[in-house]
Symmetry: C2
Amino acid sequence: MHLDKINLKEKYSKFTKHWSPRIIAEMNDYQFKIAKIKGEFIWHDHKHTDETFIVIEGEMILKFRDSEIKLTKGEMCVVPKGVEHKPCAENECKILVIEPRGVINTGDKVGPLTINKDVWV
Amino acid sequence: MHLDKINLKEKYSKFTKHWSPRIIAEMNDYQFKIAKIKGEFIWHDHKHTDETFIVIEGEMILKFRDSEIKLTKGEMCVVPKGVEHKPCAENECKILVIEPRGVINTGDKVGPLTINKDVWV
């Protein structure tokens, strides 16, 4: 049995595009996705699943309809299913997102930022 | 809707015991657990689930029956279900473990290191 470790920095070095999550690992039917984000994403929710954000480098704001949370390196937040949220980052921020396989990044708000296929890095 | 962020460093500061995972968050039926490890754990596997290890600080060795992986800060590994493994750390290492709710840390090798209740921090 040969198992490889996954080095986040090395994985981040392989792409530059913002708001373009890349899968780095799967655990059962869940996926670990890394993303570089900068600017404002769109308001959306995920009706059937919670979604976890962990900041690996930099700083992001998770906006909710009536509050917001600033997350910096080493901080995380689990957004409950059905809760509208809007990820934002003034400067580039590197995040790790954990959610079930098949979740679409924009929820049902399909548009130019939608990624609906699995892209591994 | 009020959501809190979770700061890993702050959570680690609240306990000292080794091999004593503490839950910091739940996502659907999965749990995020932090642990401080030092020394050798026992050989075990989890028959029905994969298990994710992320090193937050320090260095650990994940031993398998025929290989081993050294994981340092910013590195992770998903141990597939049914694969025997033995976490070890020469010096204290801080890890984040992600797995379904109800998974027992020692698998079916119940003994003095077994934690079979949910402890939040």
